[in-house]
């Protein structure tokens, strides 16, 4: 390793960076705001997903069996359910238990003395591993000759899934727009630095420096701005995670915070560096071609 060359390179980057301190702060700030919003969005999406999955995982398919299916035949269905990899659990509810449950749920509102016979069929309560698969599983159970009817909260499931998809798309669009604006600010900052250093660049080109070599300090500078912005954002997000979220959680029961923090930090830093890299690459490239 040639330390002299490294020192020269870092010196050039540092000089670049400090020369336009004001603009650099603007660039860093924009990246930070973008990434804080990205972090907030990830948190909201995560919370809704957790909440939604909690609801969805509780959705059961009620499988009502035909009247001529007696206990013994009905228990045979358990093996069919067990063989289906999509099904998490299947609980057999014989008609007498069903009636008992109904009484438990409805209490005194439900007067069984009026009944001459148990009107309920034998049934299964089936839970599905992946909430997305509820409709499909219900359809396939429906095809079994022993099954009279399946029932599940179809509307709720579909609406939740739709909401999650729309939210995801809106979030991606928002983040894309913010990233573009951050990139534009960085690109403008780099353009100012390029302008401030046009004499150096002219001399570099004159003495035969390659375009890649001329580009490198500016790209390092853009990445540095991106990284610093991301680091600032991580600071803000960490503060939010430890100060704001616990307060929210105490009022709204479903708010939880269980993001893999270290991975997320690396991801956010990578986003910052990438935005800086792309912005400075194009910004300098335009100058070098001119």
């Amino acid at each position: 390793m040639d330390w002299g060359r490294l020192r020269f390179f870092l010196g050039e980057v540092f000089t670049n960076f400090t020369r336009n301190a004001g603009m650099q702060f603007t660039a860093i700030g924009t990246v930070a705001v973008t990434i804080v919003l990205l972090g907030a969005f990830l948190f909201v999406r995560d919370t809704i997903a957790t909440f939604g999955n909690g609801v969805l995982s509780q959705i059961e398919i009620a499988v009502y069996l035909k009247d001529d299916v007696d206990d013994a035949k009905a228990r045979g269905l358990a093996a069919t359910f067990a063989a289906d990899p999509r099904i998490a659990s299947a609980t057999y509810v014989p008609r007498r238990d069903g009636l008992k449950r109904m009484k438990d749920v409805l209490g005194s509102d439900f007067d069984t003395s009026l009944l001459t016979a148990n009107p309920l069929p034998n049934a299964y309560h089936v839970r599905v591993k992946d909430p997305d698969l509820v409709p499909a599983v219900a359809r396939s159970i429906d095809r079994d000759p022993r099954v009279a009817k399946t029932d599940y909260a179809a509307d709720t499931v579909q609406k939740l899934l739709k909401a999650a998809t729309i939210l995801g798309r809106a979030g991606v669009a928002l983040i894309a727009l913010l990233s573009i604006s951050a990139a534009i600010v960085i690109a403008n900052t780099i353009r100012l630095t390029v302008f401030a250093r046009r004499r150096e660049i002219a001399i570099m080109q004159l003495v035969g420096a390659t375009n890649m070599y001329i580009r490198l300090p500016f790209i390092a500078e853009g990445m540095l701005a991106g990284l610093l912005g991301a680091a600032l954002a991580i600071g803000v997000l960490t503060l939010a995670a430890y100060e704001v979220v616990p307060k929210l959680a105490s009022t709204l029961a479903f708010v939880t915070f269980h993001v893999n923090t270290l991975t997320l930090c690396f991801e956010l830093l990578a986003v910052g560096a990438a935005v800086g890299l792309i912005a400075s690459w194009f910004s300098v490239g335009r100058h070098l071609r001119a």
Partner: protein, 236 residues
Amino acid sequence: MISLRGVSLVYPNGTRALYDVDLEIEKGSFVFLVGHSGTGKSSLLKLLYREELPSSGQVVVDDIRVDTLRRGRVPKLRRNIGVVFQDFKLLSHKTVWENVAFALQVTGTRTKDVMRMVPRSLDLVGLSHKARVFPSELSGGEQQRAAIARALVGNPKILLCDEPTGNLDPSNTTEIMELLQRINIKGTTVVVATHNQAVVDRMRRRVVRLEHGRILHDDERGYYFRGLGQTALLPG
């Protein structure tokens, strides 16, 4: 070493800088390009280090076809050509040493070689004692010598000078011309574009005179103006 064949240069704004120029410059020679401002001296030099591309014709420098050279190959060409300007083009925030070293550092030279080559170049131009000084603390002649040290530090085969004495007083001008002569004696091909008649007439080297983008005359051991019979060509 340098060869131009049927070279014309028209700038995008329509200005014709050079018309059908043929010129051969041998290795190790010393050539003056003369003529008053706007006759195409600078344009001709720019063609050699590919700052400009000819509109037509062939430009060959050190066996490299410059007019068809791929953009990616330009740095390699320029490492073989040193260029010096009237306004020195030194970086004001760097010392003389750093300015000279800069040319090596940005072309990826190893630090070990930088430490060896910079003092040699400063010694050649007689600026070793001013290595740690900033350009603003130097006289014009010293600044031009620093610029020459930077142009020569990578051992180019060719040194191009565009009005190198344009900003200097007569004594500094003499100093710089003597330096260029010493550099030429060591084997570097030197091409000097100038409109300084006194310098050209004193040195008695090959003189190529441009007028309105064409070569008017080309003499070994020539004068700025070719003899008294040509006074009709004097400007004004």
